[in-house]
Amino acid sequence: MTVSNAGVTAPPGRALSDLRKPSGRSGTRTASTGKSLRERDRSGYLFVAPFAVATGLFLLLPTLYGLWMSFTNQSLTGTGSEFIGFANYAEAFSDPQVWTTLWHTVWFTVLSTVPLVVVALVMALLVHTGLPGQWVWRMSFFAPYLLTSAVVSALSSWLFQPDIGLLDTWFTALGLQPVGWLTDENVAMFSIAGVTVWWTVGFNFLLYLAALQGIPQQQYEAATIDGAGGWRRLFSITLPQLRNITGVIVVLQLLASLKVFDQIYLLTAGGPNGSTRPILEYVYDTGFTNYRLGYASAISYVFFALILVFTLVRLLPSRKEA
């Protein structure tokens, strides 16, 4: 009776486990539950192996290696890899550029997250009305998300072009002063945030749309019978039902915005005058332009620690709610 179980098709892992005579093997096969059968399946480690190896090589190893590097004065040219203790960290904490670029990242995150959530919500609510043209609305709002950052920056730097760009042309046609969209230190970050909203809002829009489609229609029907009008239904049914998904979207968006690099690097390269340079670009500049890999790693880890603290603080209470 064990013959059928030690089937010919059993992979090596299975054969191995048979040798170890797992429990529940004797005589109780018909009575055995799914669990015991599953427990007898000991080849799982073969299935997890490729992922585990990849994670080990390309996530775990660089994480530890980077940590080690942050305590050395390693350079991209290959010279110097002595252990210098906390010197890099001490330098990072007293380096005004670290704090300035960190502030730019945070400022960008604030500027982009609010509209990325609010505009997405408005779009989803409007589309969820079921008005004609569903396909067109979805496509126009989501399509920019499919563009790669280089295309987005090409399009928007064309729009923002001084004098001949579309925006400045319109401004002058309306009798307004042309604006230095990407060249004015006080404006550039707003322009970048605007581009980012245009580019990625479609993703949040789809998340909201899916959540809206999940609201049971009976609730609306019941409310209609009770005489609740459209606005009343919006504020008493729809918005409260979206509270959870809004929490998820806000966290995802904050984490995504904190990692900003592409569009800033491509649009302004951190300028004008360093006024938009995010911390990831500072890491890049330190490591790959100034060749200071050790110091760049230390800055990465300071940034990582901040993200981690933020994630944990945000995650722990939401765990409890769930």
Partner: protein, 303 residues
């Protein structure tokens, strides 16, 4: 199915959808025509804003270079031309980059989906030593933003001799612990009776995975694949760090170098942007429903 049947099927589905949408309109806005007109107007304005930059870029790409550099006017006065496209396709590595992007994104997608699905299956349907620890590690690694690792990872690629290779671009991108968890959650829902029946019939674990679990999970696998593909196609930072040879650059990286090289060739810039944008836009138009679903199911960690 014959073509006529397919068309008829599409038509009834479209009719159904329209009826559903009408019912939805009644439920969300109610009968007031004014609110309806207002909402429609808001949609039109928003859609116009969202389409405008692309439309303007498209028009510019068909202008003569001399006219593109004049203050913005919509319609070209000196006639439409394919000049910019010819220039871009003839003089730049655009097609090579596009091919590279396709290869890279394709490989990343296949590898990511395969190893994530295998790991998710192991976590969900098998028992092995160290499973708990590995699962915990996977969760923890979700919190690790890859961008933090560019410096050590680049050094590692140098040591491994993978700078300016497809392997160097692709391999670090295949680690997607989030996808493992999305898939695991889905695999958890597969009735264990089904798998047990196959086990009793003597199916090995690999067969279980390949002939039962994967076919049952086609929808979520497609969703994850679409998602991974978009991400890999658009990824800029890592390919930008690990490639210096234009022959190995992906589209986003290559395009960013063109911009600097050509300086003020506006029509050409727009032409290459249009060419670069086309593939995913076509894919989106073809698979709109799937992509919308895919974002919904994978986007928030499968909630």
């Amino acid at each position: 199915m014959s073509v006529a049947e397919l068309v008829a099927d599409r038509r009834t589905r479209a009719q159904q959808e329209r009826a559903e949408n009408r019912a939805l309109t009644k439920l969300t806005i109610g009968p007031s025509p004014w609110v309806r007109v207002g909402a429609l107007a808001a949609l039109v304005v928003l859609a116009a804003i969202w389409l405008l930059p692309v439309a303007w870029g498209a028009v510019t790409s068909f202008k003569h270079e001399a006219e593109a550099a004049l203050p913005a006017s919509w319609w070209p006065t000196t006639g439409w031309t394919l000049e910019a496209y010819q220039q871009v396709l003839g003089n730049s590595d655009l097609l090579i980059w596009m091919w590279n992007s396709l290869v890279v994104a394709g490989l990343v997608t296949i590898l990511t989906v395969l190893i994530s699905a295998m790991a998710a299956f192991a976590f969900s349907q098998t028992v092995f030593k160290g499973r708990g620890l590995l699962q915990w590690l996977t969760i923890a690694s979700i919190m690790m933003p890859g961008q933090i690792l560019i410096v050590p990872l680049f050094r590692q690629m140098q040591v491994m001799g993978l700078v300016d290779t497809f392997a160097g671009i692709v391999l670090p991108q295949v680690v997607a612990p989030v996808m493992v968890f999305i898939l695991k959650r889905f695999f958890d829902a597969i009735p264990s009776e089904l798998l047990d029946a196959a086990r009793i019939d003597g199916a090995g674990t690999w067969r279980l995975f390949w002939t039962i679990v994967l076919p049952l999970s086609r929808s979520i696998l497609v969703a994850v694949a679409i998602f991974v593909f978009i991400g890999a196609w658009n990824n800029f930072l890592w390919p930008f760090i690990v490639t210096t040879d234009p022959q190995f650059m992906t589209l986003p990286v290559g395009l960013s170098t063109v911009k600097n090289a050509y300086g003020v060739q506006y029509a050409q810039n727009m032409a290459s942007a249009m060419i670069a944008a086309l593939p995913l836009l076509v894919v989106f138009m073809l698979f709109q429903r799937r992509i919308v679903q895919g974002v919904a199911t994978t986007g928030m960690g499968g909630q």
